[in-house]
């Protein structure tokens, strides 16, 4: 099976059945949880301080649940209504928005202490949405520019994603840099085909490394 983002746009791929299936699958849940904990680690938030976080492509709230457990408050955006409906049924505490991240955000400057995104960024590169659309670079530019502005200085945004080539990583990082982000790519288990995980760690300002 090819990856979902090569089959159909996200709001189509994650219809009602697929959304439920994804959320109930124990293995998906575990992988999603592991990646969320790793993303949180890479966010490097000040310890014991509740943060206000943005979950980009929050889906049915699997990551959000973990953010809550870790004492944080969050808001999430997703383009798949079925996923958001499952999130509502699951009684999670984050605010949920139906949003196409390729259209950009309207959050005021400095709104969030950080952002995480699990298995979403590749959707901006591959399948177009079913909405009339412009090119991936345009969509990435709007996304990173408005995200950069929505984050506090200093802070971080951490994305786990599935690039299919180094060119894709190159494209994404260069657009993120133009939008004002520092940072770069972290690869976990680089030599394992199965366990390999790519994280894009973007910094606003110094990325908050000096925070206590």
């Amino acid at each position: 099976m090819s990856r979902p983002e090569h089959q159909a746009p996200p709001e189509i791929y994650y219809g009602d059945a697929e959304a439920k299936k994804y959320t109930q699958n124990t293995r998906n849940k575990q992988i999603q949880a592991d990646m969320t904990y790793r993303a949180l680690e890479l966010l490097n938030l000040p310890s014991d301080e509740p943060a206000f976080l943005l979950d980009i492509g929050c889906g049915s709230g699997l990551s959000g649940e973990i953010l809550e457990e870790e004492g944080h408050i969050w808001a999430g955006v997703d383009i798949a209504p079925s996923m958001l409906e499952v999130a509502l049924e699951r009684d999670i505490n984050g605010d949920l928005f139906l949003q196409d991240i390729g259209q950009g955000f309207g959050f005021r400057p400095g709104s969030f202490d950080g952002a995480i995104s699990i298995s979403v960024l590749q959707w901006l590169l591959n399948a177009e949405t079913s909405h009339p659309t412009s090119s991936p670079p345009h969509r990435l530019t709007r996304f990173f520019t408005t995200l950069h502005s929505a984050l506090r200085n200093p802070s971080r945004a951490v994305f786990q994603f599935y690039p299919t080539s180094d060119d894709q990583i190159q494209l994404i990082t260069s657009i993120a840099q133009k939008a004002g982000f520092g940072g770069g790519v972290v690869v976990d288990y680089p030599n394992s085909k199965k366990a390999r995980k790519v994280f894009l760690c973007l910094f606003v300002g110094g990325g908050g490394t000096q925070q206590q």
């Binding site: 206000f52 383009i79 139906l98």
Partner: protein, 123 residues
């Protein structure tokens, strides 16, 4: 759902809509109250990010007038509690948020605000 904490950070993101695009005005809203744990550190942490006047007006639109019209210099525990309630416990589940500049309507139905733009509204 939209809580006032998030509403207070949200401006209109329609192409070219850059002035007077905050705050979005609540229209025909239905609200649900949901108790959440009081976390004074979090509320304190959010204070510098809030636009007080926008918050007071939004609270009024959803039927809450418990906060003082001017942001007090000192936040005692009682005030933080009230602020917690307004920011975190009032969930707007249905209705709309309307931009006072370009009149774009962001509908909220079954707890989910629709932030999708039409092709001509994308920057």
């Amino acid at each position: 759902m939209v809580r006032l904490i998030t509403h207070n950070l949200l401006a209109c993101h329609v192409k070219g809509c850059t002035t007077n695009n905050f705050p979005l005005i609540f229209r025909d809203v239905e609200v649900e109250l949901q108790e959440t744990e009081f976390n004074p550190d979090f509320i304190r942490n959010m204070l510098s990010r809030l636009e007080w006047t926008a918050l007071i007006n939004a609270a009024k639109q959803v039927g809450d007038t418990s906060l003082p019209p001017e942001q007090p210099d000192m936040m005692d525990d009682e005030l933080l509690q009230k602020l917690h309630h307004v920011l975190m416990e009032i969930n707007v589940t249905d209705g709309a948020m309307v931009c006072q500049n370009c009149n774009h309507i962001y509908p909220i139905s079954n707890g989910i605000p629709n932030m999708l733009l039409a092709e001509h509204e994308i920057g």
